[in-house]
Amino acid sequence: MSTAAPPVEAVAAVERRSWLALLRATGAAGVASAVAIAIAAFVAAFGPLLAPDSPYLGQLSSSYVGPTGGHLLGFDGQGRDLLSRLLGGARTSLVGPLTVVVICILAGTVLAVSAAWKRGTYDAFVSSGLDVLFAFPGILLAILAAAVFGAGLVAASLALAVAYTPYVARVLRGAALRERSQQYVAALEVQGASAFSICLRHLIPNMLPLIVAQATILFGYAMVDLAAISFLGLGVQPPNPDWGVMIAENQSGVVQGYPLAALAAGICIVIVVVAFNILGERLYDQAQAERR
């Protein structure tokens, strides 16, 4: 009743389902989220071109005026077309988290895979190092960075990346250890393949579903934190349209009875974050299921 072990080559080059199939496996909610994200990405890329008006120029006399002809959402506190500012703000709101995620995933993967591969003292060293910084609040580091290097998206993004990397590395290290102990790795080693090539061409590709899922979830967190930092005035600086900045700018409008400007920016943030959360969770479930 024993099943013959599958030939090593077949296991090493695991038939990766197409990414499309993986997406479909996340269900209706997953696909809807992916669509929302795609729209957001599109707006981020082409926002300024799509905007009916300038996000920067406004007349104070139009401050907080509601929707009128040609201005679908009305104006913000400075009399700028709200819709144009929203479309323009997509760019910084999305690029910042993207930077954070790219850095974290790269650094995290390198740390995780190298620690899982070498094990021993190197692993212990890296792991304790990561443990020390684990769960350290990113916002605090970002504020500190703003104090040191001046306010700005770059400093904030880098600070967040530093704060998140230990968490990402920890998660990926677990997965890397599991991959490392698979039979195909031993088989490849015996065949004389170098550690580097095994990791690059086999280990990491097999971890890809998990890495992508983790990246997606991370994007949500990074987006919230960066928006918060911009809200505090330490990230993206006005007059740049950024959803976090817009909430801070138009907060006074809420108390004066003109909530649309601040709310609209808030809703944009929530929708995109929810989309990333849902998609990320579903992808994570798929990655777990695939592992079995």
């Binding site: 949500g220 928006a227 808030g266």
Partner: protein, 305 residues
């Protein structure tokens, strides 16, 4: 392990002075021009002519005695400035933590122990609120309860016990709302998982009555992951509080930290950062201790993450 975090963090906070572009004097002065004697005072106070490690050590010693340096902008002892604001932040974090623990765990337990409508509605509500960042929640809350319904004030700290509670309610809710959802979900999942475990089945097979079963075998065991997530959540409040304080115009440490960072008042930034990091570490230590008490398999300091 957490002590290491504290030490490393303090080192990072301290050395930030040197990481900043420009020489330390420029950083400390925040770009302002100072008369010559002020510079000398600064040099003496910060021992800027001593080797790096000595400076670090002296700074640490000073901090241990409550001496955080002087605020350039306000020309006051940082420690006094911190002391006057720490109450607000502490009250806010405490208030929010209470909301998270009581409502979050409560909802999670209710949903985990029963099926049907209560369960699905808790799941649906938490799915949405988990994704609402606190500053967005702040706006919505101000809109609903301050402007439309004028139930709560949108600005300021309030005086006295009831005044403070009144003023801090909206901020606490804004701070708590997304963490509350996460704690509720994890609580629910943990309770469900414990219910399915074999040792619970054994207790059933021995005729242990339902109430006792739930109390002694399901909840008692689920308390472990629930404590972990609650600890992580409360610890993270310490940083997010800054955002909420800003949104509601509260005179707390977080808001002050942000304005100090903006005005490059370095000593203040260092001082508050250190206080917040210490608070963060203390909370984590408490959670570790609780965890070791709850789970006899674990020895202190080795909390499985």
């Amino acid at each position: 392990m957490l002590v290491a975090t504290l030490v490393v963090s303090s080192f990072v906070i301290f050395s930030a002075l040197y990481l900043a572009p420009g020489n330390p004097i420029a950083v400390l002065s925040g770009g302002r021009t100072l008369p010559a004697e002020s510079i000398k005072v600064l040099e003496a106070r910060y021992h800027l002519n001593d080797p790096f490690i000595t400076q670090y050590w002296l700074w640490l010693k000073g901090v241990a005695h409550g001496d955080f340096g002087i605020s350039i902008a306000l020309r006051e002892n940082v420690s006094t400035l911190i002391a006057s604001r720490i109450g607000t932040t502490a009250a806010l974090v405490l208030y929010a933590s209470l909301l998270i623990l009581v409502i979050g765990i409560g909802l999670g337990l209710a949903a985990g122990l029963r099926r049907g409508f209560l369960d699905t509605s808790v799941l649906a509500v938490t799915a949405v609120s988990a994704a609402i960042p606190s500053f967005v929640a702040a706006i919505v809350l101000i809109l609903l309860f301050s402007v439309k319904l004028t139930l709560f004030p949108s600005l300021g700290d309030g005086q006295g016990l009831f005044g403070t509670i009144y003023h801090l309610t909206l901020p606490a809710v804004a701070l708590a709302i997304s963490s509350l959802a996460i704690v509720a979900r994890v609580t629910r999942a943990s309770v469900r998982e414990e219910f399915g475990r074999e040792h619970v089945q054994t207790a059933v097979s021995r005729g242990i009555p339902y109430r006792q079963l739930v109390r002694r075998h399901v909840l008692r065991n689920a308390a472990i992951p629930i404590t972990t997530i609650s600890g992580i959540t409360v610890a993270s409040l310490i940083a997010i509080a800054a955002v909420v304080e800003r949104a509601f115009g509260l005179n707390g440490l977080g808001a002050y930290l942000v304005s100090a960072a903006n005005s490059k008042d370095f000593a203040v930034v260092q001082g508050i950062s250190l206080v917040l990091v210490t608070a963060f570490v203390v909370v984590n230590v408490l959670v570790d201790v609780l965890y070791a008490i709850l789970d006899p398999r674990v020895s202190l300091g080795s909390r499985a993450q």
